[in-house]
């Protein structure tokens, strides 16, 4: 499968703790994107990391990319109850004809308890 595969499938933490989600994929990529989905809603783009980048930050989010291991991680620091959602990684395979044909995994369901 070309899709990103997230690990763990579910994560339950307390407010204030950090949450780390991992992603593995199988093909060479142009970039890898992370999305969040609240229950019953569309996906929200969080961050894009290109294949020549190793780390990227956005607010409380930190994404790393290791192309040699074909893996990425998303760290959410100082989590809040509002961070409760499903998180998806979506690698954009480099063979997909010049556009980002994102291939989503099943996601990590994060629950942050007050």
């Amino acid at each position: 499968s070309q899709q990103g595969e997230e690990d763990p499938q579910a994560l339950s933490i307390q407010e204030g703790e950090n949450a780390t989600m991992n992603c593995s994929y199988k093909t060479s990529i142009n970039n890898l994107q992370w999305y969040r989905q609240n229950s019953g809603r569309g996906l929200v783009h969080l961050i894009l990391i290109r294949s020549n980048e190793r780390e990227k930050h956005s607010g409380r989010l930190r994404v790393t990319l290791d192309t040699s291991k074909k893996s990425s991680s998303l760290l959410i620091t100082a989590s809040r109850a509002a961070d409760t959602a499903s998180y998806f990684c979506a690698p954009a395979p480099s063979f997909s004809g010049g556009y980002n044909k994102l291939i989503f995994g099943a996601g990590t369901r994060l629950a942050v308890h007050p």
């Binding site: 142009n30 999305y35 996906l43 929200v44 997909s96 556009y99 044909k101 994102l102 099943a106």
Partner: protein
């Protein structure tokens, strides 16, 4: 518009009925994608438009599925002779770049076939 708009928000169809799902992307966005999301799963790619050209329809599950974007803006996903396995959330996403960096998703249309 400010975001990607999809209509209807919910659709209940009797098995065998034809349905049409509409997507209004962000004005000026070049790339438009359709995804299908089954309950508890990640979105699965259906098709990709660059302006009015349908460059990739490899994800359409059968010839009952048809998508168009005749003027390079609004897109319609049509499903003929709906089956129960078509029940899912259909997500539309658009991007300002022809590569599709950082999709903006709509809230989706939840289709239930009874």
């Amino acid at each position: 518009g400010a975001g990607v708009s999809q209509s209807p928000r919910y659709k209940v169809a009797k098995r065998g009925q034809d349905v049409a799902l509409r997507c209004d992307p962000i004005s000026g966005h070049v790339s438009l994608f359709w995804y299908q999301q089954a309950l508890g799963q990640g979105p699965e790619f259906l098709t990709y438009f660059q302006n009015e050209a349908q460059l990739d329809k490899s994800g359409l599950p059968s010839d009952r599925f048809f998508a168009e974007r005749p003027e390079g803006s609004v897109s319609t996903l049509k499903i003929q002779r709906t089956q129960q396995e078509d029940s899912a959330v259909y997500l539309c996403a658009s991007s300002s770049t022809d590569r599709g960096d950082g999709y903006t998703f709509g809230s989706g249309t939840r289709l239930t076939v009874v």
